[in-house]
Structure formats: C-alpha cells, structure tokens
C-alpha cells in the first residue's frame, strides 16, 4: 500500500474536527488559508465569537453576492459580515487582545510544526522569497491555545510534522494541537500524543508517515 492509498480526511472533515473541539463561548481567531474553513463547521448551539486582527470581534459569515462591503473585511482581506454583539476597534487594541492572552484559541496553517510545538508558517527561507509575516507571530504567542491545521505531508510527500523545523520559526514552543488529514495530535510536555487517527489508518501506518517523530498512542 502506498502513501497515496492510505486513508485521509477531507478539508471539511479536518475543519469539522477543529470546530467540534472549540468550546461554547470561546473567542477564536481563524488564520488565513485552511483554518478559514473552520467557520463553516461551528456547531449549532455553541456560541463562538470570531476575532479578526484588523479590528473586529463578532465576525459573521461571508456576505451574499452583491452585499460585500469594502470596509468590512477579515485578516485575509475577504468580505465578511457582522453578528449581533460585534464591536470594532483599532489595530493596537486588536493585537492587545491577542498578545495580552485574551483569545481562547487561534487556528493557524503551517509549513512545519516540530514535535515540541515549534511553529514555522511565515517564511520558506528561500533566499529570493519576499518575506511577509503579518500577524502570524503575534497570533502564535498570544492565544491561550494555538492549534495548527495542515496536511501531514506536502504534495511532494515531505513531512510537515518534524523533529526540528528547518524553516524559519514563527514562534518556538507555541503549538498545543495539530489537526492533519491523517490524525490529530496533542503536543504536551510529555511528548506528542495521538488523539485520533483517521479510520483505517493503523498506528504503524501513522508511525511510518511521521518518520523520526516519536508518537505516543493513547493507552
């Protein structure tokens, strides 16, 4: 059986897993890219407040076609809407919320995450790449819990959950959970714990996929 044949979750299935783990009442920042999808899976009956670092708490879903407002956007510069209870504020306040530890959860994409929770998601390190960091470093260190959502392997089959990141770090020791298309991992002081494996993927399969990363399967 090749890697391609091993079972995996779809993006929606990954997003649903993240969404299910967000507690009722939490204030959450969903990063640009893959994490944006989580918003579509937030559970009915739970009230989650979405924060965007460009100055808004209480972000609602994308507007209907034609209702976009140039001045009402998220951090990815996509049009959004408001929910009742929303509030606007300036950038220093928006980042005070983050850096001051007031956000419950942020969900970020990543190039690499190390087994110790180091995050690399801002720069490929290639010499001719134009660097851009945005709010990634602030988000990673600011939220009470920083979760990453990413495929376990790149399209080229390279591992993204690694013993040590070789891409430039966004923040050391910052990620507490990683949602991938093959499994969900908790990064704890004691080690990398497998929370859940996609159905049909054995512990040995997963161990093979992650390579040198040491996993602890639940007892």
């Amino acid at each position: 059986m090749t890697v391609e044949d091993l079972p995996r979750w779809s993006l929606d299935e990954m997003a649903a897993r993240v969404a299910a783990d967000i507690a009722d009442g939490a204030v959450v920042n969903l990063g640009i890219g893959m994490p944006t999808k989580v918003a579509d899976h937030l559970l009915d009956g739970r009230e989650i407040v979405l924060h965007t670092e460009n100055g808004l708490l209480g972000m609602g879903p994308a507007p209907n076609d034609g209702d976009e407002d140039r001045d009402l956007i998220n951090a990815g510069k996509q049009p959004v809407t408001l929910v009742p209870g929303a509030s606007f504020f300036h950038h220093a306040d928006a980042f005070a919320m983050m850096r001051g530890g007031h956000l419950d959860v942020c969900v970020l994409g990543a190039f690499q995450v190390s087994m110790h929770g180091d995050l690399a998601n801002w720069h490929t390190g290639e010499p001719d790449a134009i660097p851009a960091v945005g709010g990634a470093m602030d988000l990673a260190i600011g939220a009470r819990d920083t979760w990453v959502m990413m495929p376990l392997l790149t399209r080229e089959g390279e591992r993204k959950l690694v013993p040590v990141c070789d891409y430039p770090l966004t923040a050391p020791n910052s990620v507490s959970r990683v949602y991938t298309d093959r499994a969900v991992f908790d990064i704890t002081a004691g080690g990398l714990l497998v929370r859940e494996r996609v159905e049909g993927l054995g512990a040995d399969d997963l161990a093979h996929l992650v390579g040198d990363v040491v996993l602890e399967e639940p007892a």
Partner: protein
Amino acid sequence: MIDKIVPDLETAVSDVRDGHTVLVGGFGTAGMPFALVDALIEHGARDLTIVSNNAGNGETGLAALLKAGQVRKVVCSFPRQPDSWVFDELYRSGELELELVPQGNLAERLRAAGAGIGAFYSPTAVGTQLAEGRETRRIDGRDYVLEYPIRGDVALIKALRGDRWGNLVYRMTARNFAPVMAMAAETTIVEVHEVVELGALDPEVVVTPGIFVQHVVQVTDPFVDGAA
C-alpha cells in the same frame, strides 16, 4: 451561549479570594463601582491589594473597604484628599502599605498588563524619588524609567450599559480607568446601569469589547436615571 449577566452582586464578586489584587475603577466618585465595593465588603475577602486612583472618600466605597480591615496594600496615585481620613489613619498607624504611582504610569502599567507588554520605558518620574532604585535608560537623548505591568486578579468597574457578551459603553468622565482595568484583570466584573439586548450597542461605539469582561450585573443608579 454566552451569558455574562449575573443575577446579583453576591454572585458577581464570588470569585474574589483572600490575597487577591483587585483593580477598582473610578476617579474620585465618578466611575466608582460603589455597589460592587459594598458587595466585596459583604463578601469579606481579606488581605487584598487594591489598585485605584484614590484611596477612598469619607466613609463609603473604598474607604469603607479599608475600614473593614480587608486591605493590606493600596497602589494609587493620589491617596491624600480632604476626606481620606480612613486611609490617612491606617497608613499612619502602619497597618496599610502604600505604593504611590504617578497617574500616567498607573494607567499605562494597567494597559501594559492587558496588552501583554513585559515592561516599558516611561518618561515620567525620571530624576525623582519615585524613580529611586529603578532601572533607567537613555534612549534617543532622553531618560526613561523602566515600569512593569500591573495585573489584577479581579477588576471591579462601572459602566453605563452592557450586553450579555460584556460589551460596554460608559458615561462621560466616569469612563476613566475602567477600559484599561478591564484589560488588565483575569476576571473583570462590571456594574452597569442598564443591561441591553445583544446587538443594541452600535459596533462602532462599543468602548470595551466583551472579550475583556467576565461578569455583568445590573445596578439601578437613581442618579443616572435622573440625569440621562
């Protein structure tokens, strides 16, 4: 569902513990959360550190809390006032510790705590007694004193209106320290004159977003009713 509204003052202050640092809003009586302070006296927590601009007036509010013997230390900018006799006596007798902080440093240190700043170089108090023993640094030809954040376990503040997410608006100069104290405390407890429906506060005019607030209790204030 998020519902930060609590039914009564007793519930509102039930998280306070002995030894806590309690930030108390207000500048003189404007913005002073009298009902919450009374509830804290009723609650009885002791050995408190109180952070507030003043140290009580007459026999009510903070002065009553001091008189009840619940306070170990006061951090403030202006304890001495014509009617601060309760503070004066406890301070002179050595029963109360005082940390005197210039008002601008007090506000900025509270904000720093809320904003995750580890410390900052302040232009105020350089070359004075209040900078003695503190680290100073010359930056760009000007001298500064290193100041650290002031964090609260609890903040007690007052607002005009609040909703069940904890979004707040204030009334005139009663706003004063409340927004920075709300940021700086683990648990921010607000007495509001009026609880409004979620969505009733215009997102453009919310002063304290609900993320900084944990409990909201409605306290009818006959003064505001008359004035509004």
